[in-house]
Every structure is written in C-alpha cells, then in structure tokens.
Symmetry: C2
Subunit: 469 residues, 2 copies
Amino acid sequence: MNKRITSVISGLLFAALSVNFSLAQAKSDNFSTQQLTQIADIKQQALESDLAWDLVESLTTEVGPRMPGTPGDKAGVLWAVAKFKAMGFDKVWTEPATFPKWIRYSESAAIISPAPQKLHITALGNSISTPKEGIQAQVIEFKDLAELEKSPENSAKGKIVFINYRMDRDRDGNGYGPAVQARRRGAVVAAQKGAVGYVMRSVSTAYHRFAHTGGSHYKEGVTKIVSSAISNADADQLHRLVALTKPVTININVQAKSMGEGTSYNVIAEYTGSEFPEQHVLIGGHLDSWDLGTGALDDGAGVALTMAAAKLATTYGKPKRSIRVVLFAAEEFGLWGAKAYVKAHQNSLSNIVAAAESDFGADKVWAFDANVHASALPLVSEIAVMMKSLGIEYINKNSARGGPDLIPFRPFNIPAFALSQDGTDYFDYHHTADDTLDKIDPEKLRQNVSAYAVFTFMAANANTRILGK
Amino acid sequence: MNKRITSVISGLLFAALSVNFSLAQAKSDNFSTQQLTQIADIKQQALESDLAWDLVESLTTEVGPRMPGTPGDKAGVLWAVAKFKAMGFDKVWTEPATFPKWIRYSESAAIISPAPQKLHITALGNSISTPKEGIQAQVIEFKDLAELEKSPENSAKGKIVFINYRMDRDRDGNGYGPAVQARRRGAVVAAQKGAVGYVMRSVSTAYHRFAHTGGSHYKEGVTKIVSSAISNADADQLHRLVALTKPVTININVQAKSMGEGTSYNVIAEYTGSEFPEQHVLIGGHLDSWDLGTGALDDGAGVALTMAAAKLATTYGKPKRSIRVVLFAAEEFGLWGAKAYVKAHQNSLSNIVAAAESDFGADKVWAFDANVHASALPLVSEIAVMMKSLGIEYINKNSARGGPDLIPFRPFNIPAFALSQDGTDYFDYHHTADDTLDKIDPEKLRQNVSAYAVFTFMAANANTRILGK
C-alpha cells in the first residue's frame, strides 16, 4: 500500500470511530441513535446548502420591496405560495389580515438658513403630508423624548421639534427600546408642545447617510404634524448648526397618504406530521418589508432561512409532528398578520409545541433559549447541546420571547424559543434603503439555517411533547 | 527626595538626554540645530492640534456642498478668505476661474418590469436632461467599456446601456483609472451604438447604496444621451434581473442643465518669506465639491489640513521662503481653477520650490516621494527621515505626481511632492451624499497636518533651494 492510500484508509477509520464514539456518548430519552445521526447530518447539510440564499435572492430581486398593501406586497404573497409549492410542502394556504394602509409618495428636506443644504430624510410610517411646498420653520432641539416631555407648555410653539437622541450599538439590540419611543410618539408630544413639525435623529447605529423609517402614531385629540427622521450624519449637521446659536430654519416636505383599510395575507405552509399531525412546530418570519430597501435583512432573511430549515428538517421523511412555516403579513405596520393569525387560530394555539420567529437579520445565531414548561427542559438541553458546535450558547433562563410576531401569542403561553442573531450591525440597515441583499453574508445565513433546522427537527420528532409554561 | 520627585527628575534628565542624543545624531547641511528642534516640535504640535478639524467642521457645516457656480461655492470662497485672514496670513487674495456651469435639479430611476422597484441613481456631471417623464427602455448590459466598444454597430439600438464594471479596492486607488473611463465617455460610446440612455455601475468600492457622481463628457457629432450611475447594490440587482433573461425595462429621469460659462475663484494666501519672498512652497486642495455630500473627504480635508499645516509651519516666525496655500476652484468640473492658476502665473511658476496637493481624503499619509532635480535629493531624504516617526515610508522613486490640480503644472517641471494618503476606503465615499464630516477621523487628520507641516517647514527653510527636474 502506498502512503497516500494508507493515509486515506486511516482517515476513514478515524472518522468511523469518531462517529461511533460520539453516538455512544449521546444518551437520549428523546431520540433514537438513528435520529441522532440524522440530526448531525441535517446540521451539516444545512451548512452546505444554498437554499436559503437562493430564496432570499429571489425574493429581494424578483419581488423587491414589499410594503403592506402595495403591488410588491401582493407579489410577495404570490412568490411565497409558489415557492412553498415548488419546495414540496404538503399544504400551502393563505389567510387574510387587514391593516391601516399608508403610502409614501415623496419626501425631502433642506436647511434653508443659515447654510442651505439638503437633508436626508424619510417620513415615518403613518405620517401626514405637509402642504405641497413643505412646512418651513425654525428648529428647536431636544436631547431626547424625556427632555421634550418635561419642557414647558408651548415650548415648541410654531417650531419644528428635533430630537437628537443617538441609539447605542449592542449585540442584543438593547439600544432600540430607549430610542424607538421617540419614533413611535415623538410627533404627538411635539404637537402637544405646540410644534408644527417633527423630525428625529433616526433610530440607527449607522455611519452612513440613510434615514431610517418605521412605525409612528398619532393620538386622538392631538394635532397631527409631519413625522420624520434624518440620518445620523444629517442629525450631526443640524445639531452643530443649532449649537452655533443662530436660528436654524428647515423645510420638510412629505407627501404621503393614509388609505383606509388594506388587506394582505399570511402565507402558511406545512409538512404534515405522521404521528401527531395537529401538533406542530411553528417557525417563520414576516413577508412584508418597508418600502425604502428590498427587505433583505428585515425580513427576507427570516423568511428564507425558516423556509429552508423546514425543508432540511424533512430530509429523512415526514416528521412525527407537523412543521408549519408562517410568513406573517404587515408586521411593519403593527403585527397585523400575527394578530390575525392568533385570532383565526385561537382555539388551536395549544397545538403549538415550539415557536420561533427569525426577525433580527442574518448575522450568526449566538444564543439559544426557551420559554417552556419545566417538563420540556431536558429536551431543550438536548437541543442546546446539538447547537453548541454551531457556536451557539445555551442561555438557560427559560425566558425567551420568540420574535416580534409572537407577541400576540403571549397570552396563550405557547412554548416560545429564541435563536438569537448577533444584532451588533442590524440597526445600521434596519428600515433603510440600504437593507439590500449584499448585506447578507451567505455563510452566516447557512449557520442560521442549520440552527433552525436542528431546532425544528428536534422539536418535531422528540418523544417529549413540549408544553408552554 | 521622595520617590515621586526622583522619578520626575530622572524622567526629565532622560528626556533631555534623548533630545541631545537625537540632535547630536542629526547632521544636516540644510538646517541648524535650532531648526531641527523646531521641526520636531512642529511635528508634535500638529499631532495635538485641532485646527484642521475645526476648519473642515466649519467648512462642511456652515457652508456645506460647494458645487462650482452654486451659492455654496460662492459661500466657500467667502469662507476661505475670512478664515485665511483670521489665521494671520500675510496676503490673501482671489483669482477668477471660468468653467462650463452645470446644475442638477433632480434625478430618479426605477425598474419598471419585471420587478418594479426604485433604483438609487445619480446624474453624471454634464448630463443632459431626459424628457419630463423620463426615458424608458429595455436594458442591455455590458461587462465593461471595452465590451461595449467592441460590440457591433447598433448593438444597443433603442436601449439603455448598462455597464456593470466593478472598481477594485486598493490602497493607492489604482482601481480608479480602469473604472473611470466608463464614467467619462460611456455615454458617448453607448450613443454611438444606438443607445437612448446610459447608466453605469458607480465608480465605487462601497457596500452602501449610494450612487457616485463625477465628470462626464459628450462628443461633437455624437447624439447626447442621459448619463448616469447607480449604486453597487442597485447594479447587483439590475445584473441579477438581466441575467434572469426576461427583458428588463427601466426608467431614468434626470433634470439637469448646462448654464454656459460660470465663474468662481481660486483663494490664495501666503506667509511671506523673509529671505526669498518670491520663492514659495505651494500646498493646497480644492475648495469646490460635488453637490451630493458636503465635500468633507473631497476635498474639505485637503483644504483644512494644508491651511493648518501652513499656519503650524510658521510657529517659529517667518519662513525663509514664502508658504502659499492655494485652494483651487472648480476642480470637479475639470481642474478649471488649476488651469486658470497656471495661465495667470505661467511666468513665475519657476519660483515654486515645492508643490503638493492633498486631494485623496484624510486617511493616514503612508508614503512620501518627490519629483525634483537630483541636487535636491539629499534634502528630500532629510524630509523623509523626519516623517518616518509618523509612519510614512520614503518611496524614493523621484516620480511623484503631486495631486490632480498639479496636472496643469506638469509641463513646467515644477518640483512636485506626494504625501500619499491610504486610499483603501476613499472610493467608498468619493462623490456621494455619504461624503460627510463624520467620515474624517480627527486623529488621522492630525497625522496629515503633521506630515504637511514638516514638509512645508523644511522645503521653505532649507539651505537648499529645490529645483524641478
């Protein structure tokens, strides 16, 4: 035997011994030895699969932006139905969801004096239009929403309120909560202080000149004023000019419209379980996106990776319990698809054995946790062990939340899971024109698919039926 | 003596010894021992100075974009004159430069079919307008300008040509040359092949969704068609759709206008030399910028750092030779300020003992070279030695070019110098809306100032009078 052949054979022997060794190591009340091998294989297959990439490339390219109620949203629904069918899901269907429709036509802004220049601005969702010529007024700056709230009656009378709070960067996205209040209700508080317009520093960690859109609300009885956000670079600029003590006048021009009730569709597909078909693992993302980008990170990635994970989880045949992928509608306008889903399925939500939504981009999953009945914790530990080689920590707090679209599910105590992506860079792109396919790293996406496939297979096929708390 | 005092005194002794040691080490035919100490001190002072930052912050904030012939350009000239005077330059003056004026009003584009979505586009400088409703046609893609040039007669008849060449990233910016030809004359070649419109992948290394503008030209006798560029992400998108083999139709809408001859001004300031006032070191940048960003990297940084370096170089009093800072007008439209300067000064260009323009952003200067008569090479070596501690390599090829605005000076064989910034990231921002103040690193800017101050002091005060080749 020559050296090369010897080396190949000893390599094979070593590999075989390693497999035997690791199987011998694994003791499971939930899975057969054969299933443990299948899980390891699915995990590896997913790391080599381009399926999720192909899906998100197709969605963001052939459909593009998918704002609820737009032609792109309709095209997204047709796309999802066709893809699910082509992927061989056993059942594919849609369920309607209604929402308050809002359309953006145009948006622009400029510093008028003392230093005329354009501002990169976007209307916040639900904003009213300005008059055709825009609204022009002096800027009054507040460092955050709290400062505006504490300011005296009429403190902003006749002015445009500018809130200059900068979001902190953080792996868990913890900076979002403190920043987003100024987006959701800044225009209301500004109007209460007498303002004629509202502009905020975007909810953003970006170093690039993109304004970030996102949902905002008005309040019954409070005058509606234009609600908008500028990029970090523009907020820096406006802040510097205001600090120079000269009055700073800007013009904001937003043309947008509330269009009454719109309808879109949750797209749902299922691989039907062989033993307990009514029980199901529910994974998914939201199919809609904002209009500025192509919704790649938010949430084309979540859509694609959960579709792909479900497919991969059935590599070895029908699961014991069903695997259901739900692509929620109109998340960006206020979780309308999720609310409709919960209403339509309220009598059968107890059939959910595990639920997880991917809606935090496509960076690596770094943490795993559950929110389940104590009886399921041994199984959760087994899943966590299987994920470890993917670089995923088991948080073991049993307090996972499961993604934004699972918020309406919470009163029903479903077993929720978090496969937490690293969100350090997520808010660089979130709700901007810059949320495009090139921001997804194919290798990281595959790691996500692998984690979701392992989780899905194990929750669907375990001897333990996971219950909620 | 307590330990602390002992430690302070021995520290001082050590410092004194170090200085003596390094002075003893230095042997110079060009500088006195005192001057060598002054150079070291100026180098250090510059590393601690915020002067350049304050200047570029003021220019980009209080003036903003400075496209030739716009109100921002005029404001820039007034700003520079006022700043030079406030900084105590001995002479401050302006000299007119004319150029073909062009104004951008608006620009937008969209994929019409098969997947309707916006494209992030910008008109290239000098582009004609489209009709009000834009120009709509099928896209034909070419991988580069050469492929378009080689294509048959009428290959693009009735279509919009899309050149999809991606610029390479590189410390020296060597990727710019091969990419920029498609910007300068792509619309001409496209029209020659029968195209009705022209769009290119931006000359860009960016991962962000900004289109890069820049100069383009038409040719007498060739039909003028709209000339434009889309961001890298949009070019990726268009390429993917074209590759799907369906016809792809886009609409480009550019409203822009050529306005005949415009006038702006080179702003010039001088610290007058005590011994040879007519001889001078010429440093500077260009005061104009494109309209999309605030011209921070291109070329607010070059303006600010050469102004600051000149000031710092006079810390110890009048230089032997004059130090002249020239802020060139209308560089972006074709070096019009530099051409006017050379014309106005053609009989006295031989008084330039050293010239360097900073127009490549504000990343660290990593290389130094000259282009001078052999008799000056010992002095050049001395300058290089002084720059070494700033992390600057001496290239020693004696073939420096000295910056774009020095191109019109070349026929006069002036002694040119290159203080080469690291350009790895420069073309992420070049000619985009994203070229804003936050892209300048204050610490790197100080290193630039230090290098320029050392160079300027040494060229102005050396015993050797530097001659051109």
